[in-house]
Amino acid sequence: MSSPILSVSNLERRYGDFIGCTDISFDVWPGEVVAIVGESGSGKTTLLNCISGRLERSSGSIRYNMRDGRFPDLADLSEAERRFLMRTDWGFVHQNPADGLRMRVSAGANVGERLMAIGDRHYGEIRDTATEWLGRVEIAGDRIDDKPVAFSGGMRQRLQIARNLVTRPRLIFMDEPTGGLDVSVQARVLDLLRGLVSDLGLAVVIVTHDLAVARLLSQRMIVMKSGRIVETGLTDRVLDDPHHPYTQLLVASILES
């Protein structure tokens, strides 16, 4: 496809006089992973919530390339269309799995629910697909009837990933997907994400404050500070040859390993 899947132009979000994010323009292309990095309060989560339709913008445009070839602004979609997008074409992986899962229904139902939302009704098939996806995120099949409350943090995060990917979305938003996990668990979730993203050819916008995560997963990087983009480019170029003072500070703050 020779056009972006998501196109953001002059986006701004204000909270009264306070700037959440401003002057934001970038495109996301099919199959690419774009990392948005910056410290707490830099506006990266505000930006992610705006472009994923979870937070109203103050101004600017956010256009999405629909499966049927239309390229409308999200604001011009009907509520039904927007809901359909969120259930099928898009995924959203929260930092805290509890925000993206239903903690009191079974793991299988958490995955199957997204399938039912797009019209699947055959119980056996839904269960088979759910089992397959649990396997893909390395959750043993015999845990399918357990509830996420009985899962560890890493398992919950993997379950949230399965729930998001089961409908074969084209675009996934992720907010610090490994932020709350132990380092050893992080590596497993990251590797899983990396594999799934490349196998499925997903486009991903991932917010992280961890430059190692950005390096591992993304091809392109956007660096934010005080609500503005201060540097963008190829991920390894930004990390190995940072130009903006703030990016240099971020990179200089990583421990050498």
Partner: protein, 244 residues
Amino acid sequence: MSVSSNEKRNALLSVRQVAKSFTMHLRDGVVLPVVNDVNFELFAGECVVLGGPSGVGKSSILRMVYGNYAIDSGEILIRQNPFGEPRDLGAGDPRLVLDLRRDCIGYVSQFLRAVPRVSALDIVAEPLVSRGVDRTVAAEKAAGLLRRLHLPEALFDLPPATFSGGEKQRVNIARGFITDHPILLLDEPTASLDAGNRDVVISMIREKLDAGTAILGIFHDQPVRDAVATRTIDVSAFSARRAA
């Protein structure tokens, strides 16, 4: 080595008037010049060696040609074949750089950046898989290269994080050589290899040259340099530090 002397064949890589410096904002904006007015061309089937003492900017030039370092000015023109249209990697468009890396430029860096949990075999096969080659076919070719470089089979399915320096380097070499990129950048590929494996790498380089690959490399190892170099460029001539 002007274009006119090769009028029937275009260079695969043309570096024109390239300058590069680092501005250290955390050090009161001090500017570290690296190279100035870099000009050279690289043709199919030749192995051009970047020469000169340490710190003169050899690795920086490789990194610029790979798009890993941005340039301050000039052009880095890449052709997929001698009759292709030149594309300017130096302009820094990330998507163009990614396309060129997939299709035109391979790179063997000095150090392998290992990814947790990914096996040596998958790391080597990955450039082929990303170009759409079937996973099984890519894995077979990867295994063949690793065998040729005498990596013990027992290591194929392990992530290289715990490998020795020489083992990691061989994984890195196999990964760089598995594709048929028209341009191959080599940053001291034999630095931590024993004599036997060094000779393997020399024959692998010669095979690439016979196949028409254009190679730009840094080799501190004199026997390797003597065995593969068709031309040497003295990077001191471009060094901005000499004057600084």
